[in-house]
């Protein structure tokens, strides 16, 4: 009970931290909207040439674009969430203080990143999505169940996204500098999440591969759940499996790091 309150407070702190930068949030909303418009036009041209590419019709492809823009910051697809802070703390040695705290390192950062994600979803994600639905034809369900199903898929996507970035952050215990790993996280995130093209429109074996990687849990799965392209249960099992694998790997890496690695600092 006490522990639950602690992590709730950390999550609230994460939410408020990002809520402070109102101009930055507005700027982000604007940028996501502009990119959404550009992407929508290119997708419409693509689906004009190849109707039903990846099993989507045009309205569904448009919906995919706006959901992607909505989740871009929420899931920190190109990085830039808690992991930058954590990497910096590992690099400077401040992590030693964190490890002394009577709180679990992984849960602490998960709570903080969850707060961030919630703010990004509400403050930055909703407006581009609503804009898209007002100005472009979208395939949105009208029943409450589909939206509730999306919500569950989103929660699982947030877990997977955290799991990936937690591993990236902990690697700095060995690498000392996060520049390279951040770049890799960014490239993999943008490409394998299906930010550039829905994963089910990827050709041949490449498509088969990206569709089973953990990044598929981030945008592709929520989009398919929302549009009824996949049974929610199937998506949940896929997402939850990756979440468990990644979070367990994070746990193992954390204990390896705290046992074997000498903390940096003077």
């Amino acid at each position: 009970m006490g522990a639950g309150r602690l992590y709730a407070a950390v999550a609230a702190g994460g939410f408020r931290r990002y809520a402070t930068y109102r101009a930055a949030t507005l700027a982000g909303v604007f940028t996501n909207t502009v990119f959404g418009v550009v992407l929508v036009y290119t997708y419409l041209a693509l689906w004009d040439e190849r109707p039903h590419l990846g099993g989507y019709d045009q309205a569904q492809a448009v919906t995919y674009v706006w959901l992607g823009q909505c989740l871009y910051a929420t899931l920190a697809i190109q990085g830039g969430g808690f992991e930058k802070d954590l990497m910096e703390r590992i690099r400077t040695g401040d992590i030693a203080v964190d490890l002394y705290r009577p709180a679990d390192l992984q849960l602490w950062w998960l709570a903080s990143d969850f707060g961030r994600a919630m703010f990004q979803l509400l403050g930055r994600g909703v407006i581009p999505f609503v804009f898209g639905s007002l100005f472009f034809p979208m395939a949105l369900p009208t029943d409450v169940t589909s939206w509730a199903a999306l919500l569950v898929a989103l929660l699982l996507a947030i877990l997977v996204s955290f799991g990936i970035r937690y591993l990236a952050a902990l690697s700095v215990f060995w690498l000392m500098d996060g520049t390279g790993i951040n770049q890799a996280t960014m490239i993999l995130g943008i490409f394998c999440s299906g930010m550039v093209l829905p994963l089910n429109a990827f050709p041949g074996p490449l498509g088969d591969i990206v569709r089973v990687l953990p990044w598929a849990a981030q945008i592709q799965m929520p989009a398919d759940v929302l549009m009824g392209k996949t049974a929610p249960l199937h998506a949940y099992v896929f997402q939850a499996t990756w979440a468990v694998v990644l979070l367990t790997a994070g746990r193992l890496m954390q204990s390896a790091a705290t046992r074997r690695v000498v903390v940096q600092g003077g």
Binding site: A23, A24, T31, V34, Y41, G180, I187, L197, P203
Partner: protein
Amino acid sequence: MAETTRTSEGAFLRHPGDGELPRWREGLRAYGMIAGMWIRSSMTYRASFVITVIGNLLVTGLDFVTILLMFSQVHSLGGWSLPEVAFLYGLSATAFGISDLVLGSMDVLGARIRDGSFDTLLVRPAPVLAQIGADRFALRRLGRITQGGLVLGYALLHIDVNWTVGKLLLVPMMLLCGAAIFGALFVAGAAFQILAQDAAEVQNAFTYGGTTLLQYPPAVFGKDFVRGVTFMLPLAFVNWVPASYVLGRPYPLDLPPGAEFASPLVALAFCALAGLAWRAGLKSYRSTGS
């Protein structure tokens, strides 16, 4: 003796017109020195530098991979073939890469204003624009130019064009004017950041958003959208208008004859406007005082 001193001082003070050229040169010199400093500092960690160049190449290459993925499913996009889209892409990415190399650090301006270090730039005896442009100058940005140039090379080998002297000259012209237009966007964005300090991302919508949209044929976009990008924010003159002419493709809008050669004028006007915006921004600057 005293007379001479006064004259020379007077000349310096009284003829700002004479001072313009030296000030230009002074700016370039300051730019060169600051950029050189950042290059030397990044070269200290050679391995890290090589990795970031490769990473930069990969990150910027993702845009083209997207186009390749699309063309793995279709033979044309908006009626344009892959080499033709690659032509647009190469021009847009290379022009953007040049301006990104020269002025790409403009987005740290907001951070500098917030933490108060912008004041330091104001008291230094060098033009602020040169200082902020060269701030964190990063040679790794050559990655984007290289990658854009490779795609452009591929496109030039594969497009089917009846080359004339005019069309041939248009290619380097598009790169130069495109870089100038994007550069003006960076400067205007920096001016905007003086007003709205932590809204650096708005700039990304125009710069990164601009280069992304110019990678696709104009025919793909809605007419109103193309109109906005042609007449309001003249990004279309980076490549859309001249490249449509080179490829012999009709532009979705009716343009006056000669528009395909108008990029230098547009770039010049746009740079002048951006310069004015920058001056106005600089004048309205109030230090955070913390």
